[in-house]
């Protein structure tokens, strides 16, 4: 047994060194694969624009958009709007977390409360945040409060529902193990329910962030003096499609970056999760 154990340990150690290299290689490969399609589209787009096949007003060529991007970046305008949008997200998302996490835990742990609240919450969940924008403006004014309310509303449900699901789906077999050690109710919550729900909570936070980012831009389109949504609106009013495209492009890019950061946090805080190595079969 001893020798086989040693052998297996060596495999395990070798694995960690090799995994790092393999991971970098896989990451680069994924990056190249992921960028291939956008690059092809952009090159085609540019060529067709240069040939005069595309209406430059309806669809400005990539070079023009990049020009505009550089000037808005250069004069700090883009970063100002981006900063405004991001700070709204930070506020709204934090408030949503403070509401959704405790409520999700509570409803996951106490099924009685679930029956009381879930019909109402299911009803509210059906209403998209954007539908609330006019009402929120009426109640909270055109300023920051209404926009933050939109973010809270959008982020709340994914975080809440995934937390609830994570807690409620805690493996009864593991609860039984904890039970044989005579754990208290509190011990059971902190040492079994919470760690077991953590991956779901992370999924909820990622979704919530993505949802809130999207609806924020919608809120900014309807009435704001700064923010990425406002930038797009400005582009429309001044008939500058390249500016609109810069705004749209930045929404996607920022969303992608936020999600990327969250993925990394998840890998860092939940190292125990079995990595689903979706390495494709090549050849």
């Amino acid at each position: 047994m001893k020798s086989s154990a040693n052998h297996q340990r060596k495999n395990l150690l070798n694995l960690s060194g090799a995994t790092a290299r393999l991971e970098l290689k896989r990451f680069l490969k994924k990056l190249i694969q992921g960028l291939a399609l956008p690059l092809v589209v952009i090159v085609l787009w540019e060529i067709l624009s240069d040939l005069g096949r595309l209406n430059a007003y309806l669809l400005p060529p990539p070079t023009l958009i990049v020009d505009r991007l550089m000037t808005t970046l250069g004069n700090g305008e883009l970063l100002k709007h981006l900063g405004a949008s991001l700070s709204r997200v930070v506020y709204g998302f934090s408030i949503a977390l403070c509401m959704a996490l405790p409520l999700g835990f509570l409803l996951g742990l106490v099924p009685g409360v679930r029956n009381l609240l879930s019909p109402t919450l299911s009803f509210l969940q059906q209403i998209p945040a954007i539908a609330w924008i006019p009402m929120f403006i009426l109640w909270l004014g055109i300023d920051e409060a209404s926009k933050i309310a939109i973010i809270v509303y959008s982020a709340f449900f994914p975080i809440f529902l995934n937390t609830l699901y994570g807690i409620a789906s805690t493996d009864p077999k593991l609860k039984e193990v904890a039970y044989t050690y005579g754990l208290s109710r509190w011990g059971l919550i902190t040492r079994v329910y919470l760690p077991s729900a953590a991956p779901s909570v992370f999924v909820g936070m990622r979704l919530g962030l993505s949802f809130s980012w999207r609806s924020l831009v919608a809120a900014e389109l309807l009435g704001a003096s700064k923010g990425i949504g406002y930038l797009i609106q400005e582009g429309r009013e001044m008939a500058q499609p390249d500016l609109m495209m810069v705004g749209v492009f930045f929404i996607g890019l920022t969303g992608l970056l936020l999600d990327f950061i969250f993925c990394h946090l998840e890998n860092r805080f939940l190292p125990w999760q079995e990595k689903v190595t979706t390495q494709e079969v090549t050849e």
């Binding site: 154990a5 040693n6 005579g182 040492r191 125990w272």
Partner: protein
């Protein structure tokens, strides 16, 4: 022989629709301190239910379980349980899993020493920092045994712990388990449906039969350890137990 664990007239009924199912009927036996008992029977004979009642995970309908002069009413740390699946906490490393039952109950030095000793005992010292999903089935089950021993329980309850393993891993774990029992002299109740396993491990084998679950016979195994399943006496005893069953299909070999 002083009895350490007394099982007194345990019955168990489950409600099923409007009717009731008698799962266990008048189970009585006693276990001496340090004894290794195997509980065997086909599936549906209630052997797992009986073990879960002893563990305090299920309530008997009538009867009493007395462990070291205390009546067993609920699950407790003095009874260590090993399940059919390893049931390791996936978010804890192997050493954290083993430490689960004693964390916060003993000081850090003792905790570390206990965990190290237990991991060494089950041959997993090199894997202290590994995550459960990195282990093979046999390693995970050995870790589960170490975790159950961490609280230094008065009795170790094992519910078909080797059933899910392949044949060679199973026989290796049987040998390891026997050595572990010989060095710790823990009182053990080992549930299995494998008659070979029961006769390899048990000082006594309690044979159960189904509908309703009851004890057919209690066999004292006369062979010394380590036992060889190819030994003619071993085969004769196995045949005797099989023949005495109403139909030989009751126990899978």
């Amino acid at each position: 022989m002083t009895s350490f664990l007394k099982i007194k007239g345990i019955t168990k009924q489950f409600k099923l629709g409007n009717g009731q199912i008698q799962v266990l009927e008048d189970i009585c036996f006693e276990v001496a301190s340090g004894e290794l008992i195997c509980l065997i029977g086909s599936s549906g004979c209630g052997k797992t239910t009986l073990l879960r009642i002893i563990a305090g995970l299920e309530k008997q309908t009538t009867g009493q379980i007395i462990l070291d002069d205390n009546v067993v009413a609920a699950a407790g740390r003095e009874r260590g349980m090993v399940f059919q699946e390893p049931r390791l906490f996936p978010w804890l490393t192997l050493e954290e899993n083993v430490a689960f039952g004693i964390k916060g109950k003993v000081n850090k030095t003792i905790l570390q020493r206990t965990v190290q000793d237990l991991l060494a005992m089950v041959g997993l010292s090199d894997f202290a920092k590994a995550w459960p999903h990195q282990l093979s089935g046999g390693m995970a089950q050995r870790a589960a045994i170490a975790r159950a021993l961490a609280t230094d329980p008065q009795i170790l309850l094992l519910d078909e712990p080797f059933t899910a393993l392949d044949t060679s891993t199973r026989s290796k774990l049987q040998t390891d388990f026997l050595r572990l029992w010989q060095s710790t002299h823990k009182t053990c109740i080992h549930v299995t449906h494998d008659l070979d396993e029961a006769l390899i491990l048990g000082q006594r084998v309690i044979v159960m039969q189904p509908s309703p679950g009851r004890i057919r016979e209690i066999v004292t195994v006369p062979f010394s350890y380590p036992r060889c399943p190819e030994n003619p006496d071993f085969i004769a005893l196995k045949k005797r137990i099989l023949d005495s069953s109403v139909s030989s299909t009751e126990i899978q070999i």
